[in-house]
Protein backbone atom coordinates (compact mmCIF):
# COMPACT_ATOMS: atom_id res chain seq x y z
CA UNK A 1 0.00 0.00 0.00
CA UNK A 2 1.21 3.45 -0.87
CA UNK A 3 0.69 6.21 1.68
CA UNK A 4 2.35 9.54 1.00
CA UNK A 5 5.83 8.81 -0.33
CA UNK A 6 6.20 5.43 1.36
CA UNK A 7 5.25 1.90 0.38
CA UNK A 8 3.87 -0.19 3.25
CA UNK A 9 4.44 -3.92 2.85
CA UNK A 10 1.33 -6.09 3.28
CA UNK A 11 0.70 -9.80 3.50
CA UNK A 12 -1.97 -10.94 1.01
CA UNK A 13 -2.96 -9.59 -2.39
CA UNK A 14 -4.54 -6.26 -3.20
CA UNK A 15 -8.01 -7.78 -3.73
CA UNK A 16 -8.28 -10.16 -0.80
CA UNK A 17 -7.62 -9.72 2.89
CA UNK A 18 -4.31 -8.07 3.64
CA UNK A 19 -2.36 -7.12 6.73
CA UNK A 20 0.39 -4.57 7.04
CA UNK A 21 3.67 -6.03 8.22
CA UNK A 22 5.02 -2.74 9.54
CA UNK A 23 7.87 -2.76 7.02
CA UNK A 24 7.99 0.34 4.80
CA UNK A 25 10.15 1.59 1.91
CA UNK A 26 10.56 4.98 0.23
CA UNK A 27 8.42 5.02 -2.93
CA UNK A 28 11.40 6.32 -4.92
CA UNK A 29 13.38 3.14 -4.19
CA UNK A 30 10.67 0.69 -5.25
CA UNK A 31 10.00 -0.57 -8.77
CA UNK A 32 6.24 -0.61 -9.26
CA UNK A 33 4.89 -3.63 -11.14
CA UNK A 34 1.44 -3.61 -12.77
CA UNK A 35 -0.85 -3.23 -9.73
CA UNK A 36 -2.87 -6.39 -10.44
CA UNK A 37 -2.50 -9.62 -12.42
CA UNK A 38 -5.49 -9.48 -14.76
CA UNK A 39 -7.16 -12.66 -15.98
CA UNK A 40 -9.07 -10.75 -18.61
CA UNK A 41 -9.06 -7.23 -20.03
CA UNK A 42 -12.13 -5.72 -21.66
CA UNK A 43 -11.90 -2.28 -23.25
CA UNK A 44 -14.60 0.02 -24.59
CA UNK A 45 -14.20 1.50 -28.07
CA UNK A 46 -15.67 4.76 -29.34
CA UNK A 47 -16.84 6.00 -25.93
CA UNK A 48 -16.17 9.76 -26.06
CA UNK A 49 -17.97 11.99 -28.57
CA UNK A 50 -14.64 13.78 -29.08
CA UNK A 51 -12.93 10.55 -30.19
CA UNK A 52 -15.55 9.40 -32.68
CA UNK A 53 -14.96 11.97 -35.42
CA UNK A 54 -17.24 11.21 -38.34
CA UNK A 55 -18.02 7.66 -37.19
CA UNK A 56 -21.56 6.86 -36.06
CA UNK A 57 -22.34 7.15 -32.33
CA UNK A 58 -22.63 3.56 -31.06
CA UNK A 59 -26.13 2.43 -30.06
CA UNK A 60 -24.62 0.40 -27.18
CA UNK A 61 -21.19 0.10 -25.54
CA UNK A 62 -18.70 -1.51 -27.95
CA UNK A 63 -16.25 -3.66 -25.98
CA UNK A 64 -13.20 -5.45 -27.31
CA UNK A 65 -10.64 -7.74 -25.69
CA UNK A 66 -6.98 -7.19 -24.78
CA UNK A 67 -4.55 -9.85 -23.55
CA UNK A 68 -3.03 -10.10 -20.07
CA UNK A 69 0.32 -10.87 -21.73
CA UNK A 70 0.42 -7.34 -23.18
CA UNK A 71 0.39 -5.68 -19.74
CA UNK A 72 3.23 -3.47 -18.50
CA UNK A 73 3.47 -1.22 -15.45
CA UNK A 74 4.58 2.33 -14.91
CA UNK A 75 8.22 2.88 -15.84
CA UNK A 76 8.19 0.00 -18.34
CA UNK A 77 8.85 0.65 -22.02
CA UNK A 78 6.21 0.64 -24.74
CA UNK A 79 7.85 -1.19 -27.65
CA UNK A 80 6.98 -0.16 -31.21
CA UNK A 81 6.85 -3.33 -33.39
CA UNK A 82 9.11 -2.90 -36.40
CA UNK A 83 6.35 -3.87 -38.87
CA UNK A 84 3.38 -2.09 -37.29
CA UNK A 85 3.50 1.37 -38.81
CA UNK A 86 1.80 4.09 -36.82
CA UNK A 87 1.29 3.41 -33.09
CA UNK A 88 -0.73 5.84 -30.92
CA UNK A 89 -1.32 6.23 -27.20
CA UNK A 90 -4.87 6.06 -25.83
CA UNK A 91 -5.11 7.35 -22.26
CA UNK A 92 -7.98 5.87 -20.27
CA UNK A 93 -9.49 5.43 -16.83
CA UNK A 94 -9.34 1.73 -15.91
CA UNK A 95 -11.67 -0.05 -13.50
CA UNK A 96 -10.29 -2.98 -11.49
CA UNK A 97 -12.92 -5.60 -10.70
CA UNK A 98 -12.98 -6.75 -7.08
CA UNK A 99 -15.73 -9.39 -7.01
CA UNK A 100 -17.07 -12.00 -9.40
CA UNK A 101 -19.80 -10.23 -11.38
CA UNK A 102 -22.51 -11.45 -13.79
CA UNK A 103 -25.70 -9.71 -14.94
CA UNK A 104 -25.08 -6.64 -12.81
CA UNK A 105 -27.54 -3.78 -12.64
CA UNK A 106 -25.95 -0.39 -13.21
CA UNK A 107 -26.78 0.72 -9.66
CA UNK A 108 -24.93 -2.28 -8.18
CA UNK A 109 -21.70 -1.91 -10.15
CA UNK A 110 -19.82 0.06 -7.47
CA UNK A 111 -20.03 -2.96 -5.14
CA UNK A 112 -18.05 -5.01 -7.67
CA UNK A 113 -15.36 -2.49 -8.54
CA UNK A 114 -12.31 -2.60 -6.29
CA UNK A 115 -10.85 0.67 -7.54
CA UNK A 116 -9.44 2.59 -10.47
CA UNK A 117 -6.07 3.05 -12.09
CA UNK A 118 -4.64 4.83 -15.14
CA UNK A 119 -4.28 2.98 -18.44
CA UNK A 120 -2.74 3.37 -21.86
CA UNK A 121 -4.47 1.30 -24.55
CA UNK A 122 -1.60 1.48 -27.03
CA UNK A 123 -2.96 1.03 -30.56
CA UNK A 124 -1.30 0.18 -33.88
CA UNK A 125 -3.50 2.03 -36.35
CA UNK A 126 -2.56 0.19 -39.57
CA UNK A 127 -3.12 -3.20 -37.95
CA UNK A 128 -6.38 -1.90 -36.48
CA UNK A 129 -7.60 -0.87 -39.93
CA UNK A 130 -6.21 -3.82 -41.91
CA UNK A 131 -6.84 -6.88 -39.73
CA UNK A 132 -10.15 -8.71 -39.41
CA UNK A 133 -10.05 -8.20 -35.62
CA UNK A 134 -7.95 -6.05 -33.27
CA UNK A 135 -5.90 -8.92 -31.83
CA UNK A 136 -2.42 -7.42 -32.38
CA UNK A 137 -3.47 -3.78 -32.91
CA UNK A 138 -4.37 -3.60 -29.21
CA UNK A 139 -2.48 -6.55 -27.67
CA UNK A 140 1.04 -6.68 -29.02
CA UNK A 141 3.52 -7.14 -26.18
CA UNK A 142 3.69 -3.94 -24.05
CA UNK A 143 0.48 -2.46 -25.55
CA UNK A 144 -1.43 -2.38 -22.24
CA UNK A 145 0.12 -0.04 -19.69
CA UNK A 146 -1.57 0.19 -16.26
CA UNK A 147 -0.64 1.86 -13.01
CA UNK A 148 0.99 3.32 -11.05
CA UNK A 149 -1.43 1.94 -8.42
CA UNK A 150 -5.11 1.39 -7.71
CA UNK A 151 -7.14 3.98 -5.78
CA UNK A 152 -10.40 3.05 -4.07
CA UNK A 153 -13.44 5.18 -3.29
CA UNK A 154 -13.44 7.40 -6.39
CA UNK A 155 -16.56 8.61 -8.22
CA UNK A 156 -16.46 7.05 -11.70
CA UNK A 157 -18.67 9.81 -13.13
CA UNK A 158 -16.26 12.60 -12.29
CA UNK A 159 -12.65 11.73 -12.98
CA UNK A 160 -10.33 14.05 -14.89
CA UNK A 161 -7.98 12.44 -17.37
CA UNK A 162 -5.06 14.09 -19.15
CA UNK A 163 -2.41 12.63 -21.42
CA UNK A 164 0.96 14.20 -22.16
CA UNK A 165 3.57 13.19 -24.73
CA UNK A 166 7.01 14.65 -23.94
CA UNK A 167 5.29 17.02 -21.51
CA UNK A 168 2.83 18.43 -24.05
CA UNK A 169 -0.86 17.78 -23.35
CA UNK A 170 -2.49 15.79 -26.17
CA UNK A 171 -5.69 14.46 -24.57
CA UNK A 172 -7.95 15.83 -21.82
CA UNK A 173 -11.45 14.92 -20.65
CA UNK A 174 -13.62 14.13 -17.66
CA UNK A 175 -15.46 10.81 -17.35
CA UNK A 176 -18.72 12.80 -17.14
CA UNK A 177 -18.25 13.23 -20.92
CA UNK A 178 -18.34 9.49 -21.65
CA UNK A 179 -21.08 8.37 -24.04
CA UNK A 180 -21.70 5.28 -21.88
CA UNK A 181 -20.81 5.76 -18.22
CA UNK A 182 -18.33 3.43 -16.55
CA UNK A 183 -21.14 1.80 -14.55
CA UNK A 184 -23.23 1.28 -17.71
CA UNK A 185 -20.27 -0.28 -19.55
CA UNK A 186 -19.44 -2.70 -16.75
CA UNK A 187 -23.09 -3.72 -16.35
CA UNK A 188 -23.29 -4.29 -20.12
CA UNK A 189 -20.16 -6.46 -20.19
CA UNK A 190 -21.59 -8.65 -17.43
CA UNK A 191 -24.75 -9.22 -19.49
CA UNK A 192 -22.63 -11.57 -21.63
CA UNK A 193 -19.66 -12.65 -19.55
CA UNK A 194 -18.53 -13.05 -15.97
CA UNK A 195 -16.04 -10.48 -14.72
CA UNK A 196 -13.64 -11.91 -12.14
CA UNK A 197 -11.51 -10.30 -9.42
CA UNK A 198 -8.52 -8.61 -11.03
CA UNK A 199 -10.13 -8.25 -14.44
CA UNK A 200 -9.61 -4.79 -15.95
CA UNK A 201 -12.10 -2.62 -17.82
CA UNK A 202 -10.60 0.14 -19.98
CA UNK A 203 -13.33 2.74 -20.32
CA UNK A 204 -12.56 4.62 -23.53
CA UNK A 205 -10.21 7.31 -24.77
CA UNK A 206 -11.11 10.95 -25.53
CA UNK A 207 -10.19 13.26 -28.37
CA UNK A 208 -7.47 12.73 -30.93
CA UNK A 209 -4.52 10.47 -30.20
CA UNK A 210 -0.90 11.05 -31.19
CA UNK A 211 1.69 8.99 -33.02
CA UNK A 212 4.37 7.66 -30.68
CA UNK A 213 8.03 7.68 -31.66
CA UNK A 214 11.03 5.99 -30.11
CA UNK A 215 12.34 8.12 -27.26
CA UNK A 216 8.96 9.67 -26.41
CA UNK A 217 7.69 9.79 -22.85
CA UNK A 218 3.93 9.27 -22.37
CA UNK A 219 2.07 10.23 -19.22
CA UNK A 220 -1.52 9.31 -18.43
CA UNK A 221 -2.78 11.22 -15.41
CA UNK A 222 -6.12 10.60 -13.72
CA UNK A 223 -7.22 13.03 -11.03
CA UNK A 224 -7.23 11.39 -7.60
CA UNK A 225 -5.00 8.54 -8.78
CA UNK A 226 -1.65 9.68 -10.14
CA UNK A 227 0.49 9.43 -13.25
CA UNK A 228 1.30 6.39 -15.37
CA UNK A 229 4.61 7.05 -17.14
CA UNK A 230 6.07 5.00 -19.99
CA UNK A 231 8.90 5.61 -22.38
CA UNK A 232 8.67 4.46 -25.98
CA UNK A 233 11.33 2.47 -27.77
CA UNK A 234 11.72 0.68 -31.06
CA UNK A 235 11.61 -3.11 -31.25
CA UNK A 236 15.11 -4.54 -31.00
CA UNK A 237 16.51 -1.35 -29.48
CA UNK A 238 18.08 -1.47 -26.02
CA UNK A 239 16.05 -0.43 -23.01
CA UNK A 240 18.11 2.76 -22.79
CA UNK A 241 16.88 4.21 -26.07
Amino acid sequence: MVRGRRVHLVRGGPLGTRQETGETYPLSQVQLLPPVKAGKIVAIGLNYYTHIGDRAIPSKPEPFLKTPSSVIGTGDAIVLPSDAGRVDEEGEVVAVIGRRARNLREEDVDDYVFGYTCGNDVSAREWQAGDLQWWRAKSSDTFTAVGPWIVTGLNPDDMDIAVRVNGKEVQRANTSELIYSIRKCIAFITSAMTLEPGDLVFTGTPGATTQLNAGDSVEVEVGGIGILVNRVRAEGAGAGE
Copy 2:
Protein backbone atom coordinates in the same frame (compact mmCIF):
# COMPACT_ATOMS: atom_id res chain seq x y z
CA MET B 1 -2.51 -38.86 -17.28
CA VAL B 2 -4.96 -41.00 -19.19
CA ARG B 3 -3.79 -44.43 -20.36
CA GLY B 4 -6.41 -46.76 -21.77
CA ARG B 5 -9.49 -46.40 -19.61
CA ARG B 6 -7.65 -45.36 -16.47
CA VAL B 7 -6.54 -42.00 -15.11
CA HIS B 8 -3.12 -42.05 -13.49
CA LEU B 9 -2.65 -39.41 -10.80
CA VAL B 10 0.48 -37.27 -11.18
CA ARG B 11 2.21 -34.69 -9.03
CA GLY B 12 2.88 -31.46 -10.94
CA GLY B 13 1.00 -29.81 -13.80
CA PRO B 14 0.60 -31.06 -17.35
CA LEU B 15 3.17 -28.62 -18.76
CA GLY B 16 5.94 -28.86 -16.18
CA THR B 17 7.68 -31.80 -14.61
CA ARG B 18 5.31 -34.45 -13.31
CA GLN B 19 5.61 -37.72 -11.48
CA GLU B 20 3.07 -40.51 -11.30
CA THR B 21 1.95 -41.30 -7.78
CA GLY B 22 0.85 -44.84 -8.58
CA GLU B 23 -2.77 -44.00 -7.76
CA THR B 24 -5.21 -44.70 -10.60
CA TYR B 25 -8.96 -44.28 -11.20
CA PRO B 26 -11.35 -45.61 -13.84
CA LEU B 27 -11.85 -42.89 -16.46
CA SER B 28 -15.62 -43.37 -16.21
CA GLN B 29 -15.59 -42.28 -12.55
CA VAL B 30 -13.60 -39.09 -13.07
CA GLN B 31 -14.98 -35.68 -14.03
CA LEU B 32 -12.63 -34.19 -16.59
CA LEU B 33 -11.96 -30.48 -16.18
CA PRO B 34 -10.56 -28.36 -19.03
CA PRO B 35 -7.12 -29.92 -19.54
CA VAL B 36 -5.18 -26.69 -19.03
CA LYS B 37 -5.71 -23.27 -17.43
CA ALA B 38 -5.14 -20.91 -20.36
CA GLY B 39 -3.76 -17.43 -19.78
CA LYS B 40 -4.68 -16.41 -23.31
CA ILE B 41 -6.66 -17.88 -26.20
CA VAL B 42 -5.97 -16.90 -29.79
CA ALA B 43 -8.19 -18.27 -32.55
CA ILE B 44 -7.84 -18.12 -36.33
CA GLY B 45 -10.80 -16.96 -38.41
CA LEU B 46 -11.54 -17.90 -42.02
CA ASN B 47 -8.92 -20.65 -42.24
CA TYR B 48 -10.62 -23.34 -44.35
CA TYR B 49 -11.62 -22.66 -47.97
CA THR B 50 -14.84 -24.57 -47.24
CA HIS B 51 -15.78 -22.13 -44.43
CA ILE B 52 -15.16 -18.89 -46.32
CA GLY B 53 -18.11 -18.99 -48.70
CA ASP B 54 -18.13 -15.84 -50.80
CA ARG B 55 -15.76 -13.94 -48.49
CA ALA B 56 -12.28 -13.08 -49.79
CA ILE B 57 -9.46 -15.52 -49.03
CA PRO B 58 -7.36 -13.83 -46.33
CA SER B 59 -3.90 -12.66 -47.42
CA LYS B 60 -2.51 -13.64 -43.98
CA PRO B 61 -3.79 -15.55 -40.94
CA GLU B 62 -6.62 -13.61 -39.25
CA PRO B 63 -6.44 -14.19 -35.47
CA PHE B 64 -8.92 -13.01 -32.87
CA LEU B 65 -9.01 -13.29 -29.08
CA LYS B 66 -11.17 -15.39 -26.77
CA THR B 67 -11.30 -15.11 -22.97
CA PRO B 68 -10.08 -17.71 -20.46
CA SER B 69 -13.27 -17.12 -18.46
CA SER B 70 -15.34 -18.60 -21.30
CA VAL B 71 -13.63 -22.01 -21.07
CA ILE B 72 -15.52 -25.22 -20.24
CA GLY B 73 -14.42 -28.84 -20.38
CA THR B 74 -15.94 -31.98 -21.81
CA GLY B 75 -19.28 -32.83 -20.22
CA ASP B 76 -19.98 -29.20 -19.31
CA ALA B 77 -23.00 -27.39 -20.76
CA ILE B 78 -22.85 -24.79 -23.51
CA VAL B 79 -25.31 -22.10 -22.39
CA LEU B 80 -27.28 -20.17 -25.02
CA PRO B 81 -27.62 -16.53 -23.88
CA SER B 82 -31.27 -15.50 -23.92
CA ASP B 83 -30.60 -12.37 -25.97
CA ALA B 84 -28.02 -13.73 -28.44
CA GLY B 85 -30.14 -15.13 -31.25
CA ARG B 86 -28.48 -17.80 -33.35
CA VAL B 87 -25.54 -19.65 -31.76
CA ASP B 88 -23.45 -22.14 -33.80
CA GLU B 89 -20.80 -24.70 -32.98
CA GLU B 90 -17.35 -24.42 -34.58
CA GLY B 91 -15.30 -27.59 -34.21
CA GLU B 92 -11.54 -27.01 -34.27
CA VAL B 93 -8.15 -28.53 -33.60
CA VAL B 94 -6.55 -26.66 -30.70
CA ALA B 95 -2.81 -26.33 -30.05
CA VAL B 96 -1.62 -26.08 -26.44
CA ILE B 97 1.54 -24.00 -26.07
CA GLY B 98 4.23 -25.59 -23.93
CA ARG B 99 7.03 -23.00 -23.91
CA ARG B 100 7.25 -19.22 -23.97
CA ALA B 101 7.38 -18.30 -27.66
CA ARG B 102 8.13 -15.04 -29.51
CA ASN B 103 9.13 -14.48 -33.15
CA LEU B 104 9.11 -18.19 -33.97
CA ARG B 105 10.09 -19.50 -37.37
CA GLU B 106 7.58 -21.94 -38.81
CA GLU B 107 10.08 -24.80 -38.67
CA ASP B 108 10.64 -24.28 -34.94
CA VAL B 109 6.97 -24.21 -33.90
CA ASP B 110 6.76 -27.90 -32.95
CA ASP B 111 9.31 -27.32 -30.18
CA TYR B 112 6.92 -24.85 -28.54
CA VAL B 113 3.68 -26.82 -28.84
CA PHE B 114 3.01 -29.16 -25.93
CA GLY B 115 0.20 -31.02 -27.66
CA TYR B 116 -3.26 -30.82 -29.18
CA THR B 117 -6.82 -31.08 -27.98
CA CYS B 118 -10.33 -30.70 -29.44
CA GLY B 119 -12.11 -27.37 -29.29
CA ASN B 120 -15.51 -25.84 -29.89
CA ASP B 121 -15.37 -22.12 -30.69
CA VAL B 122 -19.05 -21.47 -29.94
CA SER B 123 -20.19 -18.41 -31.90
CA ALA B 124 -23.23 -16.12 -31.58
CA ARG B 125 -23.81 -15.09 -35.18
CA GLU B 126 -25.96 -11.97 -34.63
CA TRP B 127 -23.50 -10.55 -32.11
CA GLN B 128 -20.66 -11.44 -34.46
CA ALA B 129 -22.31 -9.48 -37.28
CA GLY B 130 -23.66 -6.57 -35.23
CA ASP B 131 -20.90 -5.74 -32.73
CA LEU B 132 -17.80 -3.68 -33.51
CA GLN B 133 -15.60 -6.57 -32.30
CA TRP B 134 -16.24 -10.23 -31.46
CA TRP B 135 -15.91 -9.85 -27.68
CA ARG B 136 -19.16 -11.58 -26.68
CA ALA B 137 -19.89 -13.41 -29.96
CA LYS B 138 -16.94 -15.69 -29.20
CA SER B 139 -16.40 -15.28 -25.44
CA SER B 140 -19.71 -15.36 -23.64
CA ASP B 141 -19.51 -17.69 -20.64
CA THR B 142 -19.24 -21.35 -21.81
CA PHE B 143 -18.37 -20.39 -25.43
CA THR B 144 -14.94 -22.05 -25.40
CA ALA B 145 -15.11 -25.82 -24.96
CA VAL B 146 -11.80 -27.73 -24.85
CA GLY B 147 -10.91 -31.32 -24.09
CA PRO B 148 -11.23 -34.11 -23.24
CA TRP B 149 -7.43 -34.18 -22.83
CA ILE B 150 -4.19 -33.15 -24.55
CA VAL B 151 -2.33 -35.58 -26.79
CA THR B 152 1.36 -35.09 -27.59
CA GLY B 153 3.36 -36.14 -30.64
CA LEU B 154 0.72 -35.58 -33.32
CA ASN B 155 1.38 -34.27 -36.84
CA PRO B 156 -0.42 -30.92 -37.11
CA ASP B 157 -0.61 -31.18 -40.91
CA ASP B 158 -2.63 -34.40 -40.90
CA MET B 159 -5.37 -34.43 -38.30
CA ASP B 160 -8.94 -35.45 -39.09
CA ILE B 161 -11.69 -33.42 -37.49
CA ALA B 162 -15.39 -34.28 -37.43
CA VAL B 163 -18.28 -32.57 -35.65
CA ARG B 164 -21.62 -34.18 -34.84
CA VAL B 165 -24.80 -32.58 -33.52
CA ASN B 166 -27.16 -35.14 -31.98
CA GLY B 167 -25.12 -37.86 -33.69
CA LYS B 168 -25.40 -36.37 -37.19
CA GLU B 169 -22.16 -35.29 -38.83
CA VAL B 170 -22.21 -31.57 -39.66
CA GLN B 171 -18.52 -30.73 -40.19
CA ARG B 172 -15.58 -32.81 -41.47
CA ALA B 173 -12.08 -31.90 -42.65
CA ASN B 174 -8.40 -32.67 -42.33
CA THR B 175 -5.89 -30.06 -41.19
CA SER B 176 -4.05 -30.57 -44.50
CA GLU B 177 -6.92 -28.50 -45.97
CA LEU B 178 -6.20 -25.43 -43.81
CA ILE B 179 -5.44 -22.25 -45.77
CA TYR B 180 -2.68 -21.37 -43.26
CA SER B 181 -1.12 -24.39 -41.57
CA ILE B 182 -1.10 -24.66 -37.80
CA ARG B 183 2.66 -24.02 -37.73
CA LYS B 184 2.27 -20.92 -39.97
CA CYS B 185 -0.52 -19.54 -37.76
CA ILE B 186 1.41 -19.99 -34.53
CA ALA B 187 4.56 -18.44 -36.03
CA PHE B 188 2.47 -15.50 -37.26
CA ILE B 189 0.87 -14.92 -33.84
CA THR B 190 4.31 -14.82 -32.23
CA SER B 191 5.39 -12.11 -34.67
CA ALA B 192 3.24 -9.72 -32.61
CA MET B 193 2.79 -11.25 -29.18
CA THR B 194 4.39 -13.70 -26.79
CA LEU B 195 2.66 -17.05 -26.42
CA GLU B 196 3.03 -18.51 -22.93
CA PRO B 197 2.79 -22.06 -21.56
CA GLY B 198 -0.87 -23.07 -21.41
CA ASP B 199 -2.02 -20.55 -24.01
CA LEU B 200 -4.40 -22.07 -26.55
CA VAL B 201 -4.49 -21.57 -30.32
CA PHE B 202 -7.76 -22.48 -32.03
CA THR B 203 -6.84 -23.20 -35.63
CA GLY B 204 -10.00 -22.60 -37.67
CA THR B 205 -13.29 -24.33 -38.43
CA PRO B 206 -14.24 -26.07 -41.71
CA GLY B 207 -17.40 -26.03 -43.78
CA ALA B 208 -20.79 -24.79 -42.69
CA THR B 209 -21.72 -24.63 -39.02
CA THR B 210 -25.09 -25.48 -37.48
CA GLN B 211 -27.47 -23.64 -35.18
CA LEU B 212 -27.49 -25.09 -31.68
CA ASN B 213 -30.69 -25.56 -29.73
CA ALA B 214 -31.33 -26.37 -26.10
CA GLY B 215 -31.07 -30.11 -25.56
CA ASP B 216 -28.60 -30.70 -28.40
CA SER B 217 -25.48 -32.76 -27.89
CA VAL B 218 -22.34 -31.57 -29.75
CA GLU B 219 -19.31 -33.75 -30.34
CA VAL B 220 -15.98 -32.55 -31.71
CA GLU B 221 -13.75 -35.49 -32.60
CA VAL B 222 -10.11 -35.15 -33.65
CA GLY B 223 -8.35 -38.26 -34.90
CA GLY B 224 -5.66 -39.42 -32.49
CA ILE B 225 -7.13 -37.36 -29.64
CA GLY B 226 -10.72 -38.26 -28.77
CA ILE B 227 -14.13 -36.68 -28.46
CA LEU B 228 -15.14 -33.44 -26.77
CA VAL B 229 -18.82 -33.72 -25.79
CA ASN B 230 -21.04 -30.88 -24.62
CA ARG B 231 -24.77 -30.58 -24.16
CA VAL B 232 -26.54 -27.33 -24.96
CA ARG B 233 -28.96 -25.58 -22.64
CA ALA B 234 -30.81 -22.29 -22.52
CA GLU B 235 -29.69 -19.54 -20.16
CA GLY B 236 -31.59 -19.78 -16.89
CA ALA B 237 -32.58 -23.41 -17.51
CA GLY B 238 -31.44 -26.09 -15.07
CA ALA B 239 -28.39 -28.17 -15.89
CA GLY B 240 -30.67 -31.13 -16.60
CA GLU B 241 -32.33 -29.61 -19.66
